[in-house]
Amino acid sequence: MSTDVGKRSDVRWAIYSLAFFGLMQRDLRVLTREVVPFVIRVAMNPLLFLFVFTYVMPHMTGGSKGSPVANMAAAGGGGFGTILLPGLMAVAIMFSGIAAVALPLAQEFGVTREIDDRVMCPLPIGAVAIEKIFFSAIQSIIAAAVVFPLAYYIPSTPVLAHVSSWWFLITVLLLASLLAGALGLTIGTLVQPKQIGLIFGVVIVPITFLGCVYYPWAALKSIKWLQIGVLINPIVYISEGMRAALTPATGHMPESMILAMLLFFLALLTWIGLRGFARRVLS
């Protein structure tokens, strides 16, 4: 015990990793207790979306050929469902980051100050925040896995999915999931706890609708300003990444650009989030 403990870096890393692992275990326990709400939260949005747009609507119009988006997708050989599969997975990934990090943080920084005991564990403050991102990423991956079968089987026109590179899919999925956690951390630490309810209207809805979720980025070419403008939205790269990995036939951004931008936003949002976290827990 005492001074010399800190001087041995292997001892220090052992202490840190045990603390990090302990935090993960705690989060896992809390999550397993809430499996049903978790699945409902993840599945409800894509379920209803798919049901209405790829099942109900096609039956009402006697096929989806009338809508422009459907035509676009048809060019790639699938229905609107093919567009939606990667898009809805992107939304699930992003939203898990918000639900796993931003919303709990708002509560923990607010009235309850519950985060205190975890901040006081023998781990640098930044690592406590990183753990949040990590654990959120795991939830994002599960969420994406829950959405896939829904988005694949519900649409009335068959969805054309094709994985040409598993490595690319896994890389995109990991980067996107971490990015979602970093976004959650940024929102959770920058937004005042009292105003967290506002972020749905002010942040989440805009970044979803302008995030190439319901249309491929390439299809924006007729609205040039928008096609350029949406590039500042990190969700675009999650959607396009999933699109490139799962439904490449619909057209997508260059893969190198997707990976580079996912990395860029991951680094940026992690940096902002860590600073915000430190500011919140230290005075």
Partner: protein, 316 residues
């Protein structure tokens, strides 16, 4: 005496904002191992800020804090292994049960599963929380929540436990239970540093005390020595009808054997004296001639010490 377990040197903390506040203004403090050490001071004195810095939650503007020899600014994560904290507010993890609050705390500090389970059971028992093990913190009364916070804070066997206002909001029974728990910790060899603005608590519970006001330590000693510094073990406050010749009375009173000091107070005089048979009668007889209206007897308390030092009441 061995090296102090908590060693605070030249500590300053300025909160910068619209108008910057100097919350801690040059505090030096050396807490010997194994004591219950109190920081006594009014609201805004800088007690919480001092504790926040010592427990790695605030960055000092100047000065240093070493806990068990580890600099808390340079090595916050490692220093936390020697520190247990119960903050001013309830910070129990509401997503976890009573038992899990302790169990996961153990896990954060590297205890293996079986060790953590055993330690949790032992603490639940020690703090009489076993029958509430599966409850959630929201369902606990203030006193139970406080006990759980203390149990959790010491779960990793820290050398020092910091308690910020441990009795705020507790009813008298819970407060006594908390005092007993704290005394038990001293028995286990844990040094306890607590803040309070309850005089009785500081007096009853603490082995040593620092009285803090406006971010500075005014005086530091054992409660007994602090009270003795008043200069007498009885205080007689004499209320007089009018202020006839109080100068003469003041001089006369000083001649009585056993009287250590006479002071002018609002509406009369205060006599400090050593406890001695017949002294009170002498004082009364003498004061009667000058129009004594009323007399109150008290013993020196930390309250008196505080008023003597600051001219203010501790509770204002």
């Amino acid at each position: 005496m061995s090296e102090p377990i908590v060693d605070i040197l030249g500590l300053r903390k300025v909160y910068n904002g619209k108008n910057s506040v100097t919350a801690v203004d040059g505090i030096d403090l050396h807490v010997p191992s194994g004591l219950i050490y109190g920081l006594l001071g009014p609201n805004g004195a800088g007690k919480t800020t001092t504790i926040s810095i010592a427990t790695t939650r605030a960055i000092p503007t100047a000065g240093s804090v070493r806990i068990a020899g580890i600099d808390v600014v340079a090595h916050p994560a490692l220093a936390r292994r020697s520190i247990g904290v119960v903050p001013q507010f309830n910070t129990l993890d509401r997503s976890c049960t009573v038992a899990e609050n302790i169990y996961f705390h153990c896990r954060y500090f590297g205890l293996a599963k079986t060790e953590a389970t055993a330690r949790t059971a032992q603490l639940l028992d020690q703090f009489r929380l076993s029958d509430r093990a599966a409850a959630y913190p929201q369902a606990l009364s203030g006193g139970l929540a406080q006990r759980l916070q203390i149990a959790r804070a010491i779960a990793h066997r820290p050398r020092v436990l910091f308690l910020d206002e441990p009795s705020a909001g507790l009813d008298p029974q819970s407060r006594i239970a908390m005092w007993e728990a704290v005394q038990g910790l001293r028995g286990e060899g844990i040094t306890v540093v607590l803040t309070t603005h309850y005089m009785e608590e500081a007096d009853e519970l603490c082995d040593r005390l620092a009285i803090i006001d406006h971010g500075k330590i005014l005086i530091e000693d054992t409660p007994a020595a602090l009270k003795a510094s008043i200069g007498g073990d009885k205080i007689y406050d004499l209320r007089m009808c009018g202020v006839r010749d109080s100068g003469i009375l003041e001089r006369n009173l000083q001649t009585i054997e056993g009287v250590t000091r006479v002071e002018v107070i609002d509406g009369g005089l205060r006599v400090l004296a050593r406890a001695k048979d017949g002294l009170l009668a002498n004082v009364v007889t003498m004061a009667n001639e000058f129009g004594l209206r009323d007399l109150t007897t008290t013993e020196p308390s930390l309250e008196t010490v505080f008023i003597r030092l600051t001219g203010r009441d501790l509770r204002e």
